[in-house]
């Protein structure tokens, strides 16, 4: 079953751009990315859009659809009413390169600022022992496909370029939480660093990030809030911090 749909696609570059109307066929079972590809193949050969896996696993095709940050490959056309015009625009929090493609290098810079995993110095290959229940907390955050939709929607940086310098964003709060909860990680003070260096305190837990996460990671409830709570606790109680690390290490080895 094929129907004609109306789309408005933002076209332009870092200097200027505008929404352009197109009328295009959509078949049963298709997603927005399919239709964008049809526009590309039949009407706008040079329309720029990022995509890779087309299965919601790589997080490349992040755009805004009717103003909402979404993966174009996971947004079914059936979600829209017959006569609805579908507006597709680039991610607003990042500078446009061309059409629907934005410069997401901000995220790679932030990734570089998060201290890496630090295993016990004497850990030998194959010797680690961890319980499933203990790895699951971090595994939830490692489901992240780095689509950066949470970064895009976060109001701390969405319309506040000036905050980008001091704010890592939800993607990297879950990275810090993942390492903080990692049974083998030995680096101390991750939560404190999140607070002091990566702008955890600027988040006022509106949960917008959780809502847009295509992997359904409970960013706010399971990463940000626990870190916010414990950063206050532990900050003034070094004995408790040390205790937690020693216990952890005994489980590992």
């Amino acid at each position: 079953m094929t129907r004609k749909i109306q789309m408005r696609i933002w076209r332009g570059n870092s200097e200027s751009g505008s929404l352009q109307d197109v009328s295009v066929d959509a078949n049963e079972g298709e997603v927005v990315l399919d239709v964008i590809h049809r526009v590309q193949a039949t009407q706008m050969g040079d329309l720029a859009v990022r995509w890779n896996c087309k299965a919601g696993k790589c997080g490349s095709c992040s755009v805004e659809i009717n103003g909402k940050p979404r993966l174009a490959c996971m947004t079914q056309m059936a979600n829209f009413a017959e006569d609805e015009t579908i507006t597709v625009t680039p991610l607003r929090a990042f500078p446009v390169i061309k059409d629907l493609v934005t410069d997401v290098s901000f995220n790679y810079k932030k990734a570089m600022e998060i201290p890496s995993f630090e295993p016990p110095a004497d850990l030998k290959p194959g010797e680690a022992r961890m319980q499933q229940i203990d790895v699951e907390r971090s595994q939830e955050f490692r489901k992240c496909i780095e689509c950066f939709l949470c970064q895009d929607t976060c109001h701390v940086i969405r319309d506040h370029e000036e905050n980008k310098k001091s704010f890592a964003g939800p993607r990297f709060f879950i990275r810090i939480a993942e390492l903080d909860m990692h049974p083998l990680d030995m680096l101390r003070n991750r939560k404190q660093k999140a607070q002091e260096e990566h702008g955890l305190g600027m988040c006022n837990i509106t949960k917008c990030c959780t809502e847009v996460c295509p992997e359904h990671i409970r960013i706010t409830d399971n990463a940000i809030i626990p870190m916010k709570e414990r950063v206050v606790d532990v900050k003034y109680d070094p004995v408790r911090w040390l205790g937690s690390k020693i216990r952890r290490r005994e489980e590992v080895l």
Partner: protein, 630 residues
Amino acid sequence: MSTQQMERHNYDIVVIGAGGAGLRAAVEAREAGLRVAIICKSLFGKAHTVMAEGGIAASMGNVNDSDGWQVHFRDTMRGGKFLNNYRMAELHAKEAPERVWELEIWGALFDRTAEGKISQRNFGGHEYPRLAHVGDRTGLELIRTMQQRIVALQQKDKRDHGDAESHIKVFAEVTVTEILKEGGKIAGIYGYRRENGVEVLFEAPAVVLATGGVGKTFKITSNSWEGTGDGHALALKAGGNLVDMEFLQFHPTGMVWPPSVRGLLVTESVRGDGGVLSNSDGVRFMFKYIPDVFKDKYADNEEEADRWYDDQSNNRRPPELLPRDEVARAINAEVKAGRGSPHGGVFLDVSTRLPADVIKKKLPSMWHQFMELANVDITKEAMEVGPTCHYVMGGVEVDPDTAAAIGVPGLFAAGEVAGGMHGSNRLGGNSLSDLLVFGRRAGMGAANYVKNAPAAKVSDESIKRAAEKIQAPFNRTGGENPYALHEELQELTQNLVGIIRTKTELQEAIEKIADIRKRIEQVSVSGDRQFNPGFHLSFDLDNMLLIAESTAKSAIVREESRGGHTRDDFPGMNPKWRQINNISSFTGKEIVVKQQSLTDMPTELFDLFDPHELEKYMTPEEMTKGGVKQ
């Protein structure tokens, strides 16, 4: 836009591709003290490795301690129907556990056994539970761990040298159009930035190809747009060889509905964890398709097959877990016989086999994928599945120990782009381990080569020639549309070089490919160089065409059926052909395929097998010889 600026870089090693193999190679080369550029076609961390679901095969023996490298080696050779490069299969089986444990030291979090070790799951063709995994998103874990390992090394370089990118730099969204040689040796590569079309020259004495597969040559594929055989084609054009390009793995279970996701992978773990295949008559049909060579390993009745999930020592495996080529052919046959599902596949059901909460825990991405893309709840109903072009066993002919490409000094290849390791058919789970084992070896091989190689210098003539090639599609007007040509190519490969092949169809394919080859020279693109997908496709198309030609020409000469190559006109295996690799090379105008003898296994490996099993594959002379004494 005829006069373009050009960026110029100089490195010890350039790695093309940022999937598991490329990143592992880069880590190894960096740790050997060298300066490495990593080039990827998309953003860092998006490579096709993320799509791998089931796990990494490594005989750690955490779940069944009877496992060991010898058993893994046997399974791999058996799966590849003994056409594998034995040395690669041996290195792979021996080194895979170390590579998995190393990932853990770099921060990977695999699922655990009750004792807290890395858990291992069953998979097609593997005798014991062998696949280290994270639910059904193991590829994501692998790529993220490697990506974060690169970042960790960069952070160290920042501390030690004041610049995070002093020794490893990632160049994202760059297309490589050419490998440059001077005096017969690698001197660098040429390409352009996808973002703005600016041309880039990398001078380097060593290049590691880690570009993955060729799936986009076919219409129904599980591969992303990146799988256009770039590395295969670059190697051919640089004077390298491809080995056995007729062997393509059609994964038995791809989605068949809706059309927009046709080909998208349904992980083999669905079957490993208990899922069964049935046809429109409700018959669990795989029992009919157990080939003689596997009869003693696979259950021929439902009762025994079902008991196996709980007691693997006293029962044979369910036939749903036969190697992928067998299952794909069986599904194909059922559909052809009119016993298919409504959308032209068969049914794969896990809903009647496991409780809903277990399905969601063990197969979370599959549950999502079907719920969100097909409105099917796999905890309540069966999936519809059919074969999809998934993996190319053929690839660059390399030296097993160093991953050096034969015939091109300074060129290395690892991962899917390299050939030989998997023979005629790859076992599930052996790809991720392949990436790590041979990624590392390619990094080492390249590092050792560079230490004795003179500094690379690319001549101005080479640069000029490479630049002209990039500009060419813009200089033509009103020529062929690259999208239309790509579709035409996919249609013909799917229909004529697909899962079942015949001489007449392959002949037709070769003629049609030659015709497209002429027309591709007239491809013109609209717009400018800024992030222009039509422009990008014009280069990918040229690569895919070479792949299609190499596949069709290798397929027409191999007059037998083995693994990922099925000839309707030659249905059986022929021991004579087991001794032969088809070697493709490029004359500059066309692909030429020559036959080359396989190296015999040494006695110590030969003796790992039951002679009765080897007899099914080998000639009497080979059996008498019993391998090569060392």
